[in-house]
């Protein structure tokens, strides 16, 4: 199949899968079979693109002209390739996990759940492969809308409230800030294509560039830059597989992916470095990192703590790319992958604990590691990655970020990275400590259902593997710089 | 004064227009509102017809004997407009009949009150 064919397949396979899941809704085993087959097929399609992208070319697919001069088009560049690989690969694992979780907890509306999940992946692929801002915006909004039914899955008052915050913040920021930013870019630059080196260079003043950058950075609400982060804790009312794949990987990574793409391909790091337009951004990102870590430290609900950890980790990516140093941009790209595998492991573990022991608060977790050793072991590896210690993937990306910050002599960033590492340790270490070293309380129970354990061990393994074999992500991240 | 006298048809037009509109707004009786509407529309007939008349002119007959004649087009137009006006009036009255059947009244305030009362029970 030609590269363009792979792109089309990557978009159509999950969409067709959604239709198949809906049709197979009456037979749960068949339905889950369709989900797994779709996930595997999607991963194969994305893998099919990898050699081409690693070979240095950019496969393209042009569908139609949506507006005069603006196409609905796709182009696979290295960062999008990395994002698509991570999202589609983790979807397979997450589907296995979902089967265990949804059945183990007797969740309602399972067909709707799997349909929306497949659609969310279709939207994610659209974001990852988008060739211009309009295509990105289209799939960005689609992702918000198809994940809303997943956030409000339980249909109770809490879900309704969470859904309102989720939709309000994400749709609000994208319509009020992102859409005007896109239109202004179109007016100023006359194009919306992602172009190495940016499209705004020399087109407008430094002040206007700064204002536009602010519209973009806060408009991409999915990147959860404070004060636009409230939707992420609100989304935690969703079933855990949703929090794991979407609100630790697909949706939030779509946000930071958009941020990186906009800074690298719309503004251009060179353009921004030559002006003072982005000087404020590292400060805002740094503030988000520290503030979210402090909130996480005080949160007793496990999923809430993980959500604020995600807010903080996302801003690492924003911070790294905002420093504009070549090494830190590589770090940003790597962190997209590293955080994904680590955080999904943590959420998998949280969901496994909920399914097996019905515990949701950190203070209830005494001795949980003795009853669920695999789960808490995986959790510990995920936590290592979040803190940024070897031998976990987080160490690699953090290393690059820190090197970039030092290279650029950006001392605020260095201080933020160092300080937040301590904070990360402060809110993850007690959980592991409680789980393994305190005496268990309450009725006895074992591990969660087998599919869940398999899934979380697999992602924990991936977290370690990315530390030892970071070649592919590194090659892609490096190619991003090469243009 | 000259302008007033030579343009008196316009003043009548404006008077009818204002009177018709006033009746439509000020009267609560649905039939009287329709009367106002008719008066309002009549003002337009005058607006079109009056300028078409030439003093001393005849009907537009194609003949050497008649050099000065009135413009026939406004008459034709207003004939159409009158038909439209009658259709509107007839439809309006028909609706008023139906309203009286449904509400037992043709006073606007009573009808609104009846709806408000029924609205509470819904």
């Amino acid at each position: 199949m030609s590269p363009a064919g792979y792109i089309a397949a990557a978009l159509l396979v999950p969409a067709a899968g959604a239709a198949g899941i809906a049709l197979a809704g009456r037979w749960p085993n068949l339905r889950e079979g369709v989900t797994l087959a779709t996930a595997a097929l999607l991963f194969a399609c994305v893998l099919g693109l990898l050699p081409t992208v690693l070979g240095g070319s950019l496969p393209q697919l042009f569908v139609l002209e949506m507006l005069p001069g603006i196409a609905l088009g796709f182009r696979v560049e290295p960062l999008g390739m990395l994002f698509a690989l991570v999202a589609s690969g983790l979807w397979i694992v997450n589907s296995v996990y979902s089967i265990g979780y949804m059945r183990g907890n007797d969740e309602p509306h399972q067909t709707r759940f799997y349909v929306c999940f497949a659609l969310a992946l279709a939207a994610t692929m659209g974001i990852a492969f988008s060739a211009n801002l309009l295509t990105l915006f289209l799939f960005y909004e689609m992702l918000t809308l198809v994940t809303w039914p997943l956030v409000t899955h339980h249909g109770d008052d809490e879900a309704r409230k969470g859904g309102r915050v989720y939709l309000g913040v994400l749709l609000g920021t994208s319509i009020v800030l992102l859409l005007p930013a896109v239109i202004v870019t179109w007016v100023v630059a006359g194009t919306l294509e992602f172009t190495p080196g940016g499209i705004l260079g020399g087109k407008t003043s430094s002040a206007a560039l700064g204002a536009l950058l602010a519209l973009y950075m806060f408009g991409v609400g999915k990147a959860a830059l404070m004060p636009m982060h409230r939707w992420l804790p609100a989304a935690m009312v969703a079933p855990t597989p949703v929090s794991a794949l979407l609100h630790a990987v697909a949706v939030v990574k779509a946000g930071v992916f958009a941020v990186v793409k906009i800074i690298v391909y719309v503004f251009g790091t060179g353009t921004l470095a030559a002006t003072s337009a982005s000087d404020w951004l590292p400060t805002v990102a740094g503030f988000t990192i520290i503030a979210a870590s402090v909130v996480a430290l005080r949160a007793d609900n496990l999923k809430r703590r993980l959500a604020y950890s995600t807010v903080s980790q996302l801003s690492y990516v924003v911070l790294a790319v905002a420093i504009l140093a070549p090494l830190s941009v590589i770090g940003a790209a790597l962190h997209v992958a590293a955080h994904a595998v680590g955080k999904i492991t943590l959420f998998f573990a949280a969901g496994a604990i909920y399914t097996a022991a019905h515990k949701t608060e950190v203070s209830q977790l005494d001795g949980i590691g003795r009853r669920m050793p695999w789960t808490l072991g995986a959790f510990a590896i995920g936590a290592l990655s979040m803190i940024g210690l070897p031998p976990a993937a987080g160490f690699v990306s953090k290393w690059y970020m820190l090197s970039g910050a030092l290279q650029a002599e950006h001392w605020v960033a260095v201080a933020v990275i160092a300080g937040s590492t301590l904070l990360n340790a402060a809110y993850f270490a007690p959980i592991v400590y409680r789980g393994f070293l305190r005496a268990p309380a309450g009725p006895a129970h074992g591990e969660a259902p087998l599919p869940m354990v398999i899934a979380l061990v697999a992602t924990a393994g991936a977290t370690l593997a990315l530390f030892f074999f970071p070649q592919v992500p590194l090659a892609l991240a490096g190619a991003l710089q090469g243009g | 004064m000259q302008a007033f006298a030579s343009h008196y048809t316009y003043w009548v037009t404006v008077l009818l227009l204002g009177a018709g509109l006033y009746i439509m707004i000020a009267r609560g009786n649905l039939v009287k509102k329709l009367v106002g509407l008719s008066i309002f529309q009549t003002s337009v007939y005058l607006l079109y017809i009056a300028p078409g008349k030439l003093i001393g002119g005849t009907a537009p007959i194609v003949s050497e004997a008649y050099q000065v004649y009135s413009n026939p087009l406004p008459h034709v137009l207003i004939l159409t407009a009158i038909v439209v006006g009658i259709a509107t009036l007839a439809l309006g009255l028909a609706i008023v009949v139906r309203i009286r059947e449904a509400y037992g009244s043709i006073e606007e305030d009573e009808i609104v009150a009846a709806d408000a009362q029924a609205g509470d029970g819904r």
Binding site: T152, R160, G172, P180, V187 | L17
Partner: protein, 493 residues
């Protein structure tokens, strides 16, 4: 042979169908006739649009009397665009009406519904195609009278009062229009719109021209329900039979917008209008008031059809806002939104009609749990609602794109901000429906599980599909609208 007479045939066929239906009197046969006439008009309109795309302007001398003495039918890029919208909606609603009207209109009156549908269609098409200002008035009244009847056929007694109020206000609007035309006629001595445009500059100096402009603008503003002249609209839309609401909401106000555009830009010309009256400022101020107040009022409605009606007032505000900008992009936004909002609101009212049929009403207690009892209807309303908000991938987004673009290019940043901010109010009222349908347990007033009858569902979903289709493929909508905008601003067609 037929190709040369398309402008006349598109109007005459539904016009002739109406008395035929009254003679037939049988509801089923009446329906069949109405469907045939509506689809004929649609086909003729499409063929006509193709001719216009080739030739630029199609001129047809009615009865072979050459213009400017005879009545000319003059179809250019703008009228072709409006004609396609109107006839498409007419063709879609006619097949839908069978089951909906059977459920909402008493048996002995049903044939009248179809007669009025044909009359209304003929009137609206005539308004959009005629090149004669007085003929336009006649068609306006034909369409309006048919509309009053359609609304009065609603089964709620409040439909009668709504129809009566619309009759009064609509007649005032039409009479204002005809006063304006009369003054222009006295000034220029012609009723042919193109001829009038040519002669007007010579006499535009005095007081009559601004008076005529003011009368026509006020009259058409009433007809198109520009805030604060919109008071007739919510009740009329809420209590009319569902099929009639869908037809009227998608077409009637849009054709009035067309007339306003025609007089402001083709007859007077943009610069002349601005010199006579501060039209852009008035339009922008009223549009903003319409968008903000009507959207907010919509949020609090207890009845879904009324909610949609108030949303229409707000959406008309977006159209007139584009007209007020009076730039190429602003006018493109106005014309494209005319179409996009037409199909979006058409789809929404059609689906709401299905709910009325199944649940006996469309109040919010009827909508609870709709996601389970009528899943396809609920999904359709959600998708069309996204188009109302202006989410990318739907027709509404295209309108919003051009509107914001127009505002930014005119340097009116605050206006661009206002347009996107008010979209959020639309999110609120659309999500009221979504939460009721998907996150509420069905109550006593909710319908028993089961969709609306198949023909209604199919037509509604075709319209929903159009909302999505025109969000991606915009060559027809944006192409047509930008040609129309260019034409209005005096460029080559």
């Amino acid at each position: 042979m037929i190709a040369a007479h398309l402008p006349a045939l598109a109007v005459v066929v539904p016009l002739a169908a109406a008395p035929l239906i009254v003679l037939v009197r049988h509801a089923g046969a009446a329906w069949a006739l109405a469907v045939a006439a509506a689809w004929f008009s649609f086909g003729a309109s499409l063929a006509l649009a193709a001719q216009v795309a080739d030739a630029g302007v199609v001129s047809y001398a009615m009865g072979n009397w050459p213009p400017p003495w005879g009545i000319e039918y003059r179809v250019d890029a703008l009228s072709a665009f409006v004609v396609v919208l109107v006839s498409a909606i007419g063709a879609a609603v006619a097949p839908y009406a069978l089951k909906s009207v059977a459920a909402e209109v008493p048996g002995e009156l049903r044939y009248l519904y179809y007669a009025m549908h044909c009359l209304c269609l003929a009137g609206l098409l005539g308004m959009a195609m005629t090149g004669d200002a007085f003929n336009l008035f006649v068609f306006m009244e034909v369409a309006s009278l048919a509309m009053y009847v359609l609304i009065a056929l609603g089964r709620d007694r409040r439909a009668l009062l709504a129809s009566y109020q619309y009759l009064l206000l609509g007649t005032i609007g039409a009479t204002f229009y005809v006063i304006g035309v009369g003054v222009l006629y006295l000034q220029t001595g012609t009723l042919n719109i193109a001829d009038m445009a040519a002669r007007l500059p010579a006499v535009a100096g005095g007081r009559p021209a601004p008076a005529a402009l003011a009368f026509i603008t006020a009259g058409m503003s009433l007809k198109l329900a520009l805030f604060p002249l919109h008071l007739w609209l919510p009740n009329a839309y809420a209590y009319a039979p569902s099929a009639a609401t869908a037809f009227l909401a998608a077409t009637a106000t849009k054709v009035s917008v067309y007339v306003l555009l025609r007089f402001h830009f083709s007859v007077f010309g943009e610069s002349a209008v601005t010199a006579l009256l501060p039209m852009p400022e008035i339009l922008i101020a009223l549009s903003i008031a319409a968008i903000v107040t009507a959207s907010l009022v919509a949020v609090w409605q207890a009845d879904f059809k009324r909610l949609l009606a108030y949303s229409s007032v707000a959406q008309i505000g977006y159209i007139t806002l584009g007209i007020g900008l009076a730039t190429r992009d602003g006018l493109t936004a106005a014309v494209v939104h005319l179409f996009n909002h037409g199909i979006t609101k058409g789809a929404l009212f059609l689906l709401a009609g299905g709910i009325v049929l199944r649940a006996g009403g469309a109040r919010f207690e009827n909508l609870r749990g709709l996601g389970r009892s009528m899943p396809l209807t609920a999904l359709g309303i959600t998708l069309a609602g996204l188009s109302l908000i202006g989410v990318p991938g739907t027709a509404g987004f295209i309108s919003k794109w051009y509107l914001v673009l127009g505002a930014i290019e005119a340097g009116m940043w605050w206006l661009a901000a206002l347009v996107v901010l008010t979209s959020l109010i639309a999110v609120v009222y659309v999500w009221r429906f979504v939460e009721a349908a998907y996150l509420s347990e069905p109550g006593e007033a909710a319908p028993r599980p089961g969709e609306a009858p198949m023909p209604m569902l199919v037509v509604s979903w075709l319209m929903v599909a159009a909302c999505l289709w025109f969000g991606f493929d915009t060559s027809f909508t944006v192409g047509g609208a930008s040609r129309a905008a260019q034409l209005l601003l005096g460029g080559a067609p």
